[in-house]
Subunit: 154 residues, 2 copies
Amino acid sequence: MQRVTNCIIIDNGHLLLLKKPRRGWYAIPGGKMEQGESIKESVVREYREETALTIHDPELAGAFTFSIYENDSLVHEWMMFTFICKTYEGTLTDYCAEGVLKWIPVEHIHDLPMAEGDRKIFEHVLANKSMLYGSFSYTEDFELLNFRLDSSAS
Amino acid sequence: MQRVTNCIIIDNGHLLLLKKPRRGWYAIPGGKMEQGESIKESVVREYREETALTIHDPELAGAFTFSIYENDSLVHEWMMFTFICKTYEGTLTDYCAEGVLKWIPVEHIHDLPMAEGDRKIFEHVLANKSMLYGSFSYTEDFELLNFRLDSSAS
């Protein structure tokens, strides 16, 4: 099963996002876990590879299950672990193979094109400090079929 | 990839643990995630199935990657998500197919036989409120080969 880790850096009212070429949608920078990594090791490595930035003390903000359906059949399932981070070091790379990295003012996030489920994740994670748990079902064309979200009580 | 969720209930200075028949080792009650579940949905369902107790507001305390090696070859990898919980309802089942459920005084935990990595997880989770991230490598006979643990800064 594929497992993805990613991280929302918040710096001076801006978030670092990745505009992906295929649909022009914005996504949270990150990537696939490698064998034997913890989720935290993975997010630090992936973030550095994609952005050249080293994140400090990323904290897990959400854990999500994704199910992809073609007609009524499950074709793919993966998990995503989303961290949040306010301190980092390094200089943002000029070139990212995955798309274009952009600092976006927090108040503009909701105007950006993105996967519908990602929008719901942003809504929660930027407004709450509690962990978010969720499950999303999408079509192969990334149309959101249904979702469940649950935040911890603390 | 197999994914396991489990939960440490703390009630009046006691933890509910499962003594498994094979080695007589104590483990945290829980079980395998099912397709489409979030990790929180999984832990509530698994805990109810194994103990007949309904846990309230479980909070994620740790996320772990396990790699099992035979000689120098990786033969199995899975993930475990460990929650902690202080409130629940229901009456503990008289019969659990997986082993014997026992309330153990917290101060006796470290005397119990258990997987070496689980002991390290207990040491951290009972002493800290921060999230624990880790990766463990075991032999097929559950001898701990190496591990890395990292807790969040908060």
